[in-house]
């Protein structure tokens, strides 16, 4: 095996070469061939998993005419979204066609070709097929690179230990099916919508009443601040469970599977409950939107209900606690539905359905980092998708900056008063 050289002029390492000896069929004659890794890559013949192990569903975004597909690995139950062009490539990956042949077929079919599309898709497919390849945060990547540093090693160990604090049930689907059968289905009827509308109306009226008596309500809290904070946090934490349960029931409602339900320490420091309802990607667009909105609507209902309940109580700790919980629930409703923050929360999924860009957060960061400056220099118009990505990026950036400034202002105001 040999290398052409350690580095190219651009500073990137050159592709390695392997030297093979191929014997002739008659006698000891032979020839040697150098095979560059790049050539081997072009001649590799990717093979998709057996047909029985995967399924594909079309995800129509009729408004913009963009068509994407959900591709599910039935064994690992992982789902990825692929575009029309990626679907074409996927169909070619039968184990017989080499990447070079696939690229040629693509060129003949679509008339143009960007070679990056194949490695990108292959990475996506590999990730979907590997259960152990969990997403790694940038923090974890940095810590892994600095393992020689004792502090980084200790922090990585701590994060690893915290991440292991995961309580998961992989057989939760049967449980949610039972819950759905014994009454959960009622949440997805017109009656539930009517009840929600009624409660929101009552909640608005109650909220206005509370606002008018704000002094009395907050006095109840102020007299027992520690108890009030603990109570509000505990109740809020419990409502997070319900938020996830509603997502799970919505998944069952659309006859998709709840893969997991449990508790984990997200990114090593955010304790949270979660329901893995990614199977909903195989359902209709309506199902995905309902699933995304169902969780936040629970917060809206609880907020309105708590406002109403607070008006029925006498001034004191309990009324203050209920009113504070109501505010927290309404706040959660808006936060979980707010899409512009780079986090893929419920509102983000609704936005994705509306604009028809499945990996909006990722694409927007990538576009700004890799292509925006070039577009500005060459003064070329943005495509529709690029404009959406740019708008999302700017709005998210502004939102986060606004959120940080608001908190700084609140803290400084509280400190000076």
């Amino acid at each position: 095996m040999s290398e052409v050289g350690d580095k190219t002029t651009e500073g990137r390492p050159k592709r390695t070469r392997i030297e093979l000896l191929v014997r002739q069929t008659d006698g000891d004659g032979f020839e040697t061939r150098e095979i560059a890794s790049g050539v081997a890559y072009l001649h590799s013949r990717p093979q998709r998993i057996p047909d029985a192990d995967w399924e594909m569903a079309r995800l129509p975004y009729a408004r913009q005419g963009v068509v994407t597909y959900a591709l599910k690995n039935r064994r690992t139950e992982q789902i990825i979204q692929i575009s029309e062009t990626e679907k074409f490539l996927w169909e070619q990956m039968d184990g017989h066609a080499s990447l070079q042949e696939i690229a040629t077929a693509y060129l003949l079919h679509f008339g143009s070709f960007d070679f990056e599309i194949i490695p990108t898709l292959i990475v996506k497919l590999l990730r979907a097929d590997l259960l152990t390849m969990r997403p790694v945060s940038r923090l974890r990547a940095v810590l892994a690179r600095n393992r020689r540093n004792p502090a980084a090693r200790a922090m990585e160990g701590t994060l690893h230990a915290l991440e292991r604090l995961t309580v998961t049930s992989r057989r939760s689907h049967q449980f949610f099916e039972r819950v759905y059968r014994y009454g959960g289905f009622l949440l997805f009827t017109p009656w539930a919508i009517a009840l929600l509308a009624l409660m929101v109306g009552v909640g608005i009226v109650s909220g206005i009443k509370i606002w008018h008596n704000l002094g009395e309500v907050t006095q109840g809290l102020a007299s027992h601040p520690l108890v009030a904070i603990v109570l509000v946090k505990v109740v809020f934490f419990l409502t997070l469970v319900n938020h996830q349960i509603i997502h799970a029931l919505a998944c069952v409602h659309y006859k998709r599977r709840v893969r997991e339900f449990g508790f984990t320490i997200l990114h090593g420091f955010i304790p949270t409950f979660y329901a893995d309802v990614t199977d909903i990607f195989m359902a209709t667009r309506r199902a995905r939107v309902v699933n995304a909105v169902a969780g936040p609507l629970f917060h809206l209902f609880m907020g309105a209900f708590c406002f109403w309940l607070a008006t029925l109580l006498e001034p004191g700790l309990m009324q203050g606690f209920i009113a504070a919980s109501a505010i927290l629930q309404i706040q959660s409703f808006f936060i979980s539905l707010y899409p512009f923050c780079f986090l893929e929360m419920d509102g983000y999924h609704v936005l994705v359905e509306l604009v028809g860009v499945p990996s909006l957060a990722h694409d927007s960061v990538r576009f700004v980092r890799e292509s925006l400056w070039r577009r500005i220099r060459t003064a070329t118009w943005l495509t529709r998708q690029e404009a959406i990505c740019l708008a999302y990026f700017v709005l998210s950036l502004v939102s986060i900056a606004g959120f940080v400034l608001l908190n700084v202002w609140l803290l400084t105001s509280a400190g000076s008063s």
């Binding site: 095996m1 390695t16 191929v22 069929t25 890794s37």
Partner: protein
């Protein structure tokens, strides 16, 4: 037996670099001359091995079977280099790789019995010989570990598997 003592050539062979001339002259009758035509296989991986070889002229390609008629080229050996010593001193007395003449090649061979006699008769010279042999073995080990790293890199590039960033 080799025709004429080639002291100059043996001095260039790393194993005999430190050995006194009279010892080499005494050992010389034990060397056997071998001539290979281009493409001739000297031995194949798995064959029993009883001798080591010094390359006088030509070149040897060392390969390891991979699949069917395909073998991986491990290294190429040139005049002055020694090979085949693993089956003499290793724990397995079988050839670990296939050696084949890449061009018309002339070799000298030294069998196990001759080597044993050399060790018994000239222990001091034998010590120097084995010291150089250890150097050769260390270099082979280093080359092998470099090869493993390169093959791994080749595999990653050839499969498009991006471990670092994905």
């Amino acid at each position: 037996m080799a025709s004429l003592p080639e002291i100059g050539f043996l001095r260039r062979v790393v194993l005999f670099k430190e050995v006194e001339e009279q010892v080499i002259l005494a050992l010389w009758p034990s060397f056997r001359e071998r001539r290979l035509k281009k493409g001739d296989v000297l031995f194949r991986a798995g064959d029993p091995g009883e001798e080591l070889f010094l390359i006088k002229d030509g070149g040897i390609v060392v390969s390891k079977p991979v699949t069917g008629r395909v073998e991986q080229v491990l290294t190429r050996l040139t005049p002055g280099e020694v090979f085949g010593e693993m089956s003499l001193f290793g724990d397995e007395r079988r050839r670990s790789a296939t050696c084949q003449a890449e061009v018309d090649t002339m070799l000298y061979s030294l069998d196990r019995d001759s080597l044993n006699r050399f060790v018994a008769s000239s222990p001091l010279a034998a010590a120097k010989f084995f010291q150089q042999m250890a150097q050769v073995a260390f270099k082979r080990l280093r080359d092998s570990s470099n090869l493993v790293a390169e093959v791994t890199r080749w595999g990653l590039e050839a499969t498009g598997l991006d471990i670092e960033h994905k």
